[in-house]
């Protein structure tokens, strides 16, 4: 079996690409809804009303937020390593915190939108 660090590294890669695939779908939907809202000149109240109309909206945005919380820190990890020379335990801890902030902030926003 591979050492733990090699397995973790391989899983980071798998999660990065899997979250990317999920985000590809989410972003297409998100961009479409933005264009729709802009085209139909929906007010904020109108958008919020539509968000409350179906349980699929909070479900969709929750999945979106979780995928972002996985994808963005992993992307930043490569940048920190390659362009800032930051790597190792401390960097990974900071990035885990970034993930939690994105997750918490994002789910809170979803709740505000749809609760």
């Amino acid at each position: 079996m591979a050492t733990r660090s090699v397995r973790y590294a391989a899983w980071r890669f798998v999660l990065q690409r899997a979250s990317a695939a999920v985000l590809a779908l989410c972003v297409v939907v998100h961009l479409a809804t933005i264009i729709y809202a802009v085209r139909h000149q929906l007010t904020a109240e109108a958008i919020v009303a539509r968000m409350h109309a179906s349980v699929w909206w909070p479900a969709f945005y929750a999945i979106f937020v979780i995928a972002v919380a996985i994808h963005a820190p992993l992307g930043l990890r490569a940048i920190a390593d390659e362009w800032l020379g930051l790597r190792g335990r401390a960097t990974d801890t900071v990035l885990a915190l970034v993930a939690l902030v994105l997750l918490g902030g994002g789910l809170y926003a979803v709740r505000s939108l749809t609760a």
């Binding site: 079996m1 591979a2 050492t3 660090s5 090699v6 397995r7 590294a9 391989a10 899983w11 980071r12 890669f13 798998v14 690409r17 490569a78 390593d81 390659e82 362009w83």
Partner: protein
């Protein structure tokens, strides 16, 4: 513009190592002149202390690889005419490898990474077994048609910016070799090899810049080999076989 009509032209050549710098020489302009011809002229007629490597001088061995106007090339296969559009001819040692002196680099780290990626064939048969039969048209064999041609010249390694940014990144040549062996049906170290290329310094650090593919003098595509390794590593991780 490097003149095509003047009898001589200026050349900048890296001299020294850690405290090195480019030094200017005036070299005769000749028809069908290669960059290796230029370097050889300087060493033979202008400054005998210039250190450089070459061997076959006909584009087969890869020993003469150097940085020409910022790009890694085989100097025996680079005509001065090709770089004539640039303002000067600037010749330096290969990037990303420790400079021994002038145009000579230490290739040890390049081959150390080749070994770290398990770029060594592990036999499964003995002399008493029959010859291995590998069908030339089989998918596994076709997949490495091009990749087996690598001669380890380090042009791709010198061209890869990830190698420049991450000192422990295995690099395009080592990973290309690992992929070649993974697809070799006679080899017995597949699992260990996938593990060797699955970590942070392995295939997943490739960002598909394709500088390696751009510059490979044998027209290989390490990017393609590394993409295949990514697929294999991801599958093994998910299946739990890594």
């Amino acid at each position: 513009m490097i003149s095509l009509t003047e009898s001589t032209f200026p050349v900048l050549i890296w001299r020294g190592a850690a405290d090195g710098a480019f030094r200017r020489y005036e070299v005769p302009r000749l028809a069908s002149q290669t960059v290796l011809d230029v370097v050889t002229h300087v060493q033979r007629h202008l400054d005998a202390s210039l250190a450089y490597r070459y061997a076959c001088r006909v584009g087969m061995c890869g020993s003469c690889a150097m940085t020409v106007n910022g790009k890694a090339r085989w100097t025996c296969r680079t005509h001065v005419d090709t770089v004539a559009g640039d303002r000067t001819l600037e010749i330096g040692p290969l990037h990303h490898l420790p400079i021994v002196r002038d145009l000579v680099v230490d290739m040890a780290p390049f081959f150390d990474k080749w070994a770290a990626a398990k770029g060594e064939f592990k036999p499964t048969a003995t002399r008493y077994d029959d010859f291995a039969k590998v069908a030339p048209a089989s998918p596994a064999r076709r997949a490495i048609d091009a990749t087996i041609e690598c001669i380890g010249c380090a042009v791709c390694y010198a061209s890869c910016d990830v190698v420049g940014w991450k000192s422990d990144y295995l690099g395009p040549a080592a990973l290309n070799r690992a992929f070649t062996l993974v697809k070799d049906v006679r080899d017995g170290a597949r699992a260990a090899r996938l593990r060797a290329v699955a970590g942070d310094s392995g295939c997943q650090s490739c960002h598909t810049h394709q500088s390696c593919t751009e510059r490979c003098p044998k027209h290989l595509s390490p990017t393609a080999s590394i993409a295949s390794l990514k697929r294999l590593v991801a599958t093994a991780a998910v299946k739990g076989t890594l």
